[in-house]
C-alpha cells in the first residue's frame, strides 16, 4: 500500500532558526513528490520534485528528493512567525492524479 510518512510531527523553533522537515515514501508507481503549506484550511503548493538530487528553491525554502533513499527534505532558513503552518508532503502517482499525503509536520515559529 502506498504510504507517505513525515517527521517530526511537530516542531517549535524561534525566529531566525533553520528547520529541516523530513518525508519518506513507499509507492508502487512513483511520479513526483510534492510539498504543500497549509495555513488555516487550504493547502498551497510549494514544490514538485521529480528528479533525484536537484534542489528546488524559493526564497528561504528549498527542497530536494533522494530517490535511492525514497525520501525528501524541506529546509526553511531564517524562519519567521509567518512560516508557522502545517507542512504536507504528498506523493503523486499520475494514474488518476490523486495525491497521497503524509500526516504533516506542524511548525510553530516563536518570536
Amino acid at each position: 500500500e502506498d504510504k507517505v510518512v513525515q517527521s517530526p510531527l511537530s516542531l517549535v523553533v524561534h525566529e531566525g532558526d533553520t528547520v529541516t522537515l523530513n518525508c519518506s515514501y513507499e509507492v508502487t508507481n512513483f511520479r513526483s513528490l510534492l510539498w504543500y503549506k497549509q495555513e488555516k484550511k487550504a493547502p498551497t503548493f510549494l514544490f514538485m520534485l521529480t528528479s533525484s538530487g536537484i534542489e528546488k528553491k524559493s526564497g528561504r525554502l528549498s527542497s530536494i528528493l533522494d530517490k535511492k533513499e525514497l525520501s525528501s527534505i524541506l529546509n526553511i532558513t531564517a524562519t519567521q512567525t509567518g512560516d508557522s503552518a502545517i507542512y504536507l508532503c504528498a506523493q503523486y502517482s499520475g494514474n488518476t492524479g490523486k495525491l497521497i499525503f503524509g500526516q504533516g509536520t506542524t511548525l510553530q515559529v516563536k518570536p
Binding site: A42, P43, M48, Y92, G97, F101, G104
Partner: protein, 114 residues
C-alpha cells in the same frame, strides 16, 4: 480571484442527519478531487472526477458517502446518516488538465457531527 470555493464553510450535524457539501471548482478545470482531513492528519483521497465522470471512488469510506458532478462543473459530496467519525474538514481541489499534479484547493468545509 476565482479560486475554488466551498460551501458551507462550517457545518454542524446531529448524528444520523444527512449533509451535502458543495464545491465550485475553477472555471474550465477538468479534474476535481475530494479529500477528507481528520484533525491532526493529512488529507486523504476520497474520489476523483474527470468532467462529469467519476473515475475513482476508491477512497470513499462507506456507502453512506456519495459524490456527483452532473454537469462537469460544480460537485456535491453527500454523506448520509452521519456518524461522529465523519467529523473532519472536507477539501475539494481542481486541476486544469487530466491527471495533473497541480491541484488548487478550496478552503474546505469543517463538518462536526454531534
Amino acid at each position: 480571484g476565482a479560486g475554488v470555493s466551498q460551501s458551507p464553510r462550517y457545518k454542524v450535524a446531529k448524528r444520523g442527519q444527512d449533509v451535502a457539501l458543495r464545491c465550485d471548482p475553477i472555471s474550465g478545470h477538468v479534474s476535481l478531487f475530494w479529500y477528507q482531513q481528520a484533525l491532526g492528519q493529512g488529507p486523504e483521497f476520497l474520489t476523483y472526477f474527470q468532467n462529469e465522470a467519476q473515475l475513482d471512488k476508491s477512497g470513499l469510506p462507506s456507502d453512506r458517502f456519495f459524490a456527483e458532478r452532473p454537469e462537469g462543473s460544480v460537485s456535491t459530496l453527500k454523506i448520509q446518516r452521519t456518524q461522529q467519525e465523519d467529523s473532519a474538514v472536507y477539501l475539494c481541489a481542481s486541476s486544469l488538465e487530466r491527471s495533473s499534479y497541480e491541484q488548487y484547493f478550496g478552503p474546505g468545509t469543517r463538518l462536526t457531527v454531534t
